[in-house]
């Protein structure tokens, strides 16, 4: 795997060069946290796509389709359609009324200290779930690829962690954005080539490809079974399957619009119109990528076979194994290096959104009542926070090791975002009556209910069958208390209800009086943060 290492080293070298270029250009908080708000529409579209198409997409979703056919494809559909919510409801008001974080929008007309404190907590929770997802993906990759070269899982995780800390600590948002743009280009190119290879395998006869996908053969409980991967029902079965599916849809449609690392990207552009255009760019990229994941996933099922996947690195490695089968070791090396780049870029995006929220929402606005003790304090605190976030995520990732599907892990962070962040963000922008009590109860109830239900659900609780290779291990050996693996169907309405009830039980004339200001600013951009000069 020396080629994989060489390609990976080339990517690291070029991204480090970008980081030092960015570090020389970055002066002041707006440059560090928001890339000076000078990113263009297509650049931000690529960066959003690069931020969003994580290990959960390239490794996780392809793997889900490779093992469970159509039901796995629903993760891809959900990931794409979520951007309609962002486009229609969130991106432009967010850009016009905030500065660096989701907390800015909430604090605009609510009492800033409590809402910022809670926004920082739920931001950090979401980011931690995502971080675990990426690290599990990285670990699985290393297990497959670099074992021969003597690099261990722990060393790889530490390496990924240190690199992303360098990007974030030195380069800030500008370096992170460019790392994401390059990674989005590489990943899209890889997906296109791999898709063409799959179709070429069937001499570009699409119907033959789908015919093969309709009868995939594999071992189940010691017997050979043949399953139609184009039919629903391989993952989500009665009695709870239908509810789980609707729940998954809710998590995607509302959760993506509450993901802190996606929301911060809309502060890096000069105005709301650019934010809007960048969402459309992201939709073109993410949509075409996810359509291709279905070809890759089904291709892996047909050409590689679920049995081989399960015994050679597990579900997350489906796309990588497909690349090896179709393109040999050279292509395997390229695809793995791109997968690594993907993880690196996403982890950098997560780290900067977490450290921004900590420095800007919590440190400056909660602890120091909105004033920097000395100039440059916010950026300094963010750099320290990035260091801490990096160290903590390295420790968690080493503690966990590669266990479950990255696509599923990713939905946990999204469930928290859908239940705790999205309801209060939406109500704060569109409901005049909304107030601080509503924001506090909405965020706390949404966050707690999502967390409790996830831990009480079948992904954390379950009794492992003895000696089944490739099976997921459960952290709690007991029957699950909550039957659904996707908690959104309960936690999202709970988050909304708590926000509405909390609001109705209290009055806050100041918050209502400031709604006109927020509405004018959100809709015509009067007084919105401007792009900075050189």
């Amino acid at each position: 795997m020396t080629l994989a290492l060489a390609i990976f080293a080339a990517f690291i070298a070029s991204t480090l060069a970008i980081t030092f270029w960015a570090a020389r250009r970055s002066r002041g908080a707006s440059a560090y946290f928001a890339a000076g708000r000078r990113i263009t529409a297509w650049q931000n579209g690529f960066a959003v796509a690069g931020d969003f198409m994580s290990a959960a997409s390239f490794l996780g979703v392809v793997g889900l389709i490779a093992l469970q056919g159509f039901d796995g494809f629903l993760y891809a559909v959900g990931g794409f359609v979520a951007y309609v919510t962002i486009l229609l409801l969130i991106a432009e008001p967010l850009r016009n009324t905030g500065k660096y974080t989701m907390g800015d929008v909430l604090a605009y007309r609510l009492r800033p200290r409590p809402v910022r404190a809670l926004a920082a907590i739920s931001t950090l929770t979401t980011v931690v779930f995502y971080m675990i997802t990426q690290m599990v993906g990285a670990g699985a990759l290393v297990g497959l690829l670099l074992a021969d070269s003597g690099v261990t899982y722990n060393q790889a995780v530490i390496g990924v962690g240190i690199l992303m800390m360098i990007y974030v600590i030195f380069g800030g948002m500008l370096a992170t954005t460019w790392v994401q743009i390059i990674k989005a280009m590489l990943l899209s190119a890889c997906a296109v080539v791999l898709t063409l290879l799959v179709l070429a395998h069937f001499h570009f006869h699409l119907l033959d490809f789908f015919a093969a996908a309709s009868q995939v053969m594999y071992q189940q409980n010691g017997e050979t079974v043949v399953r139609d991967f184009l039919q629903p029902g391989l993952r989500y079965r009665p009695p709870h399957g239908p509810l789980d599916l609707i729940s998954l849809g809710l998590i995607f449609v509302f959760g993506t619009a509450g993901l802190p690392h996606i929301l911060v990207k809309f502060y890096t552009v000069p105005d709301a119109k650019t934010a809007r255009n960048s969402v459309v760019w992201a939709m073109i990229l993410i949509g075409s990528f996810y359509v291709m994941t279905s070809v890759l996933g089904l291709g892996a099922a047909v050409i590689v076979g679920p049995d081989y996947v399960v015994t050679h690195g597990g579900t997350n490695m489906s796309g990588i194994l497909l690349a090896q089968t179709l393109g040999g070791n050279v292509f395997l090396a390229i695809v793995s290096a791109v997968a690594f780049a993907t993880i690196l870029a996403v982890v950098a995006g997560l780290t900067i959104s977490a450290s921004t929220s900590f420095a800007h929402d919590f440190w400056i606005n909660v602890v120091h009542h909105g004033r920097e003790a000395h100039s440059g304090e916010a950026v300094l605190v963010a750099r320290i926070a990035a260091l801490v976030v990096g160290a903590v995520s390295i420790a968690i990732a080493i503690g966990l090791g590669p266990t479950s599907n990255a696509g599923i892990l990713g939905t946990f962070g999204m469930a928290v975002a859908a239940s705790a962040n999205f309801p209060v963000l939406l109500l704060s922008i569109f409901w005049r009556r909304f107030n601080t009590a509503g924001a506090i109860s909405g965020m706390s109830v949404g966050l707690l209910s999502a967390l409790v239900l996830i831990v009480a659900g079948p992904n954390f609780m379950g009794i492992d069958a003895a000696n089944v290779t490739g099976a997921v291990h459960h952290l709690i050996q007991a029957n699950p208390w909550f039957p659904l693996e996707n908690v959104g169907i309960l936690s999202v309405p709970l988050g909304f209800m708590a926000a509405i009830i909390g609001t109705l039980l209290s009055g806050e004339p100041d918050a209502e009086a400031k709604f006109n200001e927020l509405m004018v600013r959100a809709n015509i951009g009067l007084g919105a943060e401007k792009a900075s000069g050189h």
């Binding site: 159509f70 794409f80 951007y83 309609v84 609707i246 939709m283 359509v291 509405m519 809709n523």
Partner: protein, 110 residues
């Protein structure tokens, strides 16, 4: 931008102006139905897949199932909504610019 002292009155005045209310009404006419249609069309997929798996397993083209074709159509519909929104938003932008221009004329920036 209105200054801090008389800011509330100024924002309220813009918010209650006929121009701004027109803009909000025009936005609502597009965004509310578009978002509701999107929710309906998208959630039809998990609902049908979950509760009518037989219907969704119907072969449409070759071995392609209705479920698969419906799932792919979500991408087309998403892109279509985005395209329509871009067209509608060009109108929102010009109305917003008119409001901003009027404000600048009444109260030249210091």
């Amino acid at each position: 931008m209105p200054s801090d002292s008389d800011s509330h009155n100024e924002w309220d005045r813009v918010a209650s102006s006929a121009q701004f209310r027109d803009l909000m009404a025009i936005k609502k006419v597009f965004i509310v139905p578009a978002f509701l249609f999107f929710l309906l069309y998208y959630f039809l997929l998990p609902v049908l897949v979950g509760y009518a798996p037989k219907l969704m397993s119907t072969r449409v083209i070759g071995t392609m199932t209705l479920a698969y074709v419906f799932a792919l159509s979500q991408f087309v519909v998403g892109w279509l909504i985005a395209w329509l929104y871009l067209k509608a938003a060009a109108r929102f932008d010009s109305l917003a610019e008119d409001i901003l221009e009027d404000l600048n004329r009444q109260e030249p920036p210091a």
